[in-house]
């Protein structure tokens, strides 16, 4: 073992107990090493076993899980062989963990000072003035403004980014050797994410902790981590120096995953991964075969091993040399054919919640079959604007017109034809699909309300046709939303919107709750359907790269105002407003070395 290795995990295997007593193996043969002052990125889609591996590596066993095999050495201690009572002394002092949601990880009933004092007293025996000095030092290191005051405040009095800094301060309070972060910046704005990752990188170097950073975001990990491991079906399929993995993928899965990430530098080019990952570890063939474009007979005959062609960049693929030379897949999305006539026109709209004005005079014209993006961070008023267009939020001033006719402020007061023409798709299909209605009931509703051309007897055929058009498998008609995956549910929501044959589709963060590969397929679908049906799309998102991919024109919103607007090509190539530039700079963007030189 090298001297700077702080945690060495080898051959980790984890399973979950099924109801019948058998074990569903979800992690197999995972090995990695955390070194002082370095960040290891663990990437993969949801359900690939990355969080399970990270938690198992520090000896944490959630209810129902079993560690089947492997070792995890912290110095001379094998964490997997220790009882929970011993582990409790190590957790918090030598190993720290930061969960995804700081808001849930911090106790809302205790002050920040109180929470910081606990680990200091328990693990280091610090009390009184010494403890307070350390607390102030920690908050200062995390860049929180006015530390003495912050100690007296409660977690909910801080913003999401500040809460995550406090969680980080808590994790680092006892100077741990190992720091495990599970999606710590997911759900935060790009600029906040950029500040936190910057801070993290500095701290890891400075304190010399070994850091494991779990994330689904390959481009973030590619820029942040020193080494990168990609997981699929419970196994590491590729690992190596971060830059090498990010620019020179040797496993078809990593390649596909990167191709699915929308990029502001590859406008409109994107490709989703068909199918879904297996639910348990595959032992006798390559797990990726059913989705792999490179599959050969050899791939199903034996389970491939991680192979190193000689430069420390490993991949679990029999054809890794060929894969590496292939260009990254991707094709251009269906382009919107915008027509000259203005369809929807928003003029000087103001919206408020009580006294708090969140939209301060926004004007916007949408032409027929055009795709417009609205970008902004949380609280910028972009969603409220969309709700006002949909007739769900009464604007305090301004007008919204469809083909020149002014619309009533609430949907019920609008004529049926208007309600048919403007359809809304929400961020979270868990919430936008009624869990007690079958897929048929959900999709048939707008048909019954708005489509006089469909007779009662023909409904089933029309619904099935719509489900086919959003590429859902057959046989889901009488299923409930809970029985579908997240991506499938969002497709149902889309089918419901298109059932009304709208002319304007309002999309509110439609893909932000989905995995990148699923997001890519949904983006492809929306581009295709809106092009076929000549539907205009207003796409609201905090993700600039997604807007860049789907929209022709974009507005940047900040604090209720539009600060910049233009075609996406112009906007992203030469942003004029300082805020847009700041947003663009905050995006972690992977780029091959050649591209770096170009810029």
């Amino acid at each position: 073992m090298r001297s700077d290795t702080v945690l060495e995990v080898s051959d980790l295997a984890v399973g979950y107990l099924r109801h019948d007593g058998s074990t569903n193996q979800v992690v197999s043969g995972v090995s990695f090493r955390l070194e002082r002052g370095a960040i290891l990125g663990l990437a993969g889609e949801s359900g690939c076993g990355k969080s399970t591996s990270a938690l198992a590596a520090i000896g944490y066993r959630p209810l129902g899980s079993r560690i089947i095999g492997g070792r995890s050495l912290l110095g001379d201690l094998d964490l997997l062989a220790l009882p929970s009572s011993k582990l409790r002394d190590i957790w918090g002092s030598r190993i720290a963990y930061v969960a995804q949601s700081a808001a849930l990880a911090l106790n809302p009933a205790l002050t920040v000072g109180h929470q910081l004092a606990q680990p200091l007293a328990i693990h280091l025996g610090l009390r009184g003035a010494k403890s307070r000095a350390r607390q102030l030092e920690l908050l200062e290191a995390m860049g929180l403004p006015d530390p003495p005051r912050a100690l007296r405040r409660y977690p909910f009095q801080f913003s999401g980014g500040q809460q995550q800094r406090i969680a980080l301060a808590l994790a680092l309070s006892c100077k741990p050797d190992v720091l495990v972060l599970d999606e710590p910046t997911t759900g935060l704005d790009v600029t906040t994410q950029a500040r936190i990752t910057e801070l993290l990188r500095a701290i890891v170097r400075e304190l010399g902790v070994g850091c494991l950073y779990v994330s689904h975001d390959l481009s973030l990990l590619g820029t942040l981590a020193d080494r990168l491991a990609v997981m699929y079906a419970g196994e590491i399929v590729e690992s190596g120096p971060a830059l090498s993995v990010a620019t020179n993928q040797r496993h078809p899965y990593t390649q596909a995953l990167l191709a699915a990430v929308p990029s502001i530098r590859r406008p409109r080019v994107l490709v989703g991964i068909p199918g879904r990952p297996p639910v348990s570890v595959v032992h006798d063939s390559c797990a990726y075969v059913p989705r792999c474009p490179y599959a050969q007979p050899a791939c199903v005959e034996a389970h491939p091993e991680l192979r190193d062609p000689g430069d420390g960049h490993l991949a679990r693929c029999v054809r890794l040399e060929e894969v590496e030379r292939q260009p990254s897949p991707g094709h251009e999305l269906a382009r919107a054919h915008r027509k000259p006539d203005v369809l929807l026109s928003v003029h000087d709209v103001h919206c408020a919640y009580g006294r708090n004005e969140v939209v301060k005079g926004v004007s916007l014209d949408v032409r027929r079959a055009e795709r417009v993006g609205i970008v902004g961070e949380s609280g910028s008023g972009k969603s409220t604007l969309l709700r006002a267009i949909a007739g769900l939020h009464r604007p305090s001033a301004g007008s919204i017109c469809l083909r020149g006719a002014e619309l009533a402020p609430v949907a019920v007061k609008r004529p049926r034809s208007v309600r048919r023409e403007i359809q809304l798709v929400f961020q979270n299909p868990d919430s936008s699909l009624n869990p007690r209605h079958t897929i048929f009931d959900i999709v048939v509703r707008p048909i019954r309300l708005f489509r006089d051309d469909v007779p009662r007897a023909g409904e089933r055929a029309v619904v099935q046709e719509l489900l086919d058009s959003v590429k859902l498998p057959t046989g889901l008609l009488y299923r409930y939303p809970a029985e579908l995956s997240g991506g499938q549910r969002q497709r149902v929501a889309l089918a419901r919107a298109f059932a009304a044959q709208p002319t304007v589709l309002l999309c509110d963060e439609v893909t932000s709750a989905l995995d990148v590969s699923v997001q890519a397929t949904i983006l492809e679908l929306i581009a295709e359907l809106s092009e076929q049906t000549e539907t205009a799309v207003i796409w609201v998102s905090h993700d600039l790269a997604v807007v860049r991919t789907i929209a022709d024109r974009a507005l940047v919103m900040r604090e209720g105002e539009v600060c910049e607007e233009g075609t996406t090509d112009e906007l992203f190539a030469a942003a004029k407003h300082a805020y847009t530039q700041q947003l663009l700079a905050a995006i972690p963007e992977l780029q091959p070395p050649a591209a770096v030189a170009e810029l």
Binding site: Q25, G275, R276, P278, V279, S280, V281, V282, H283, D284, S285, C286, A287, Y288, V289, P290, V300, R387, A390, G391, L392, A411, V412, R414, R416, R419, I422, Q423, L424, F426, Q427, N428, S431, S432, L433, N434, P435, R436, H437, T438, R445, P446, L449, P473, T474, G475, L476, L477, Y478, R479, Y480, A482, E483, L484, S485, Q488, R496
Partner: protein, 300 residues
């Protein structure tokens, strides 16, 4: 251990059928709670509906045997202090105790629940008005309402139904209001609003199915309470008047000579208990039916 292709095949298999989802009826029949509940409930209902045709003696006829005798060949559950046949009285004594609570609680549920949903959905003044009325009604002790109503209007089944309805209406309405508040922030409600659905459609089509779990359980529980409440009223002599046979009245009167013939008290008490247990078991099965789902994800 599964291979990749097997895993894919396994996942595809799960969506092959296109059958309708299990109905509430079938769900109740599928669980053991539901089955036992239905069997017990059916038993009690059969006794109430057809018991009157099988009475060995006229139920209100005194002096059909020795007074307060223990069970014997001619009187299977013995006799009471007026020498009436207990079995005959048990067979006819269940009418009021099931019909009154059933109608009263159903009315309370319909009216209170609808107003509760409306209060939560509309908010503002509607909410304030309905909630204050509920609070007012809840501040009155249940027995007091009944006593005043009976003193003013006399004892009849209609008075009993209405007063019990007023006792349970605000309590059920409050629960429905609370459950509705948890649901109205969901985006499917916003989606319905954007489609321009009428308030009634939103309440009954979108919201109601999602609050069925707590309200069904509450409904069954309230019926149980109401059965006991009616039994209490009858026991206190405020409901059904002697000599008419009623389980509640029988429990009340039987306790005077419980040492001489415990069956005079136990038999009607057991019937009340059986009814309560049956209703609770069915409620459990229904609750499980409406809260199922989350686990079985179709993998594709």
């Amino acid at each position: 251990m599964t291979t990749a292709s097997e895993a894919v095949a396994l996942q595809l298999e799960a969506v092959d059928d296109e059958g309708r989802p299990p109905s509430a009826r079938r769900a109740v029949l599928a669980s053991w709670e539901g089955r036992i509940g239905l069997v017990l409930g059916l038993l009690v209902v059969l006794v109430i509906a057809f018991g009157r045709f099988f009475t060995p003696y006229p139920p209100n006829e005194p002096n059909v045997g020795p007074p307060t005798s223990l069970p014997s060949g001619s009187h299977l559950l013995g006799t009471d202090d007026l020498s009436r046949d207990i079995l005959s009285r048990v067979l006819v004594g269940g009418t009021v105790i099931i019909i009154v609570p059933l109608i009263a609680v159903s009315l309370a549920w319909l009216i209170g629940g609808t107003l509760g949903m409306l209060a939560a959905y509309r908010g503002g003044r509607t909410d304030a008005l309905i909630t204050r009325v509920y609070d007012l009604l809840m501040s009155l002790p249940p027995l007091l309402i009944v006593l005043v109503a009976i003193a003013a209007l006399g004892t009849s089944s209609v008075v009993l139904v209405l007063t019990i309805m007023f006792v349970y209406l605000p309590r059920m309405g409050r629960l429905v209001r609370g459950a509705t508040q948890g649901v109205i922030t969901s985006e499917y409600v916003a989606a319905a609003q954007a489609r321009g659905e009428r308030t009634a459609t939103i309440l009954f089509r979108e919201i109601l199915p999602n609050i069925m779990a707590p309200t069904t359980a509450d409904f069954a529980l309230r019926i149980t309470y109401a059965v006991i409440f009616v039994a209490t009223l009858n026991f206190l002599g405020l409901g059904v008047q002697p000599p008419r046979a009623d389980w509640g009245v029988m429990v009340a009167q039987g306790r005077g000579y419980i040492t001489l013939n415990p069956w005079a008290t136990l038999a009607p008490a057991a019937m009340i208990a059986l009814l309560s247990i049956a209703l609770n078991l069915i409620a459990d099965a229904l609750t499980q039916h409406v809260t199922r789902g989350r686990q079985e994800i179709v993998q594709l």
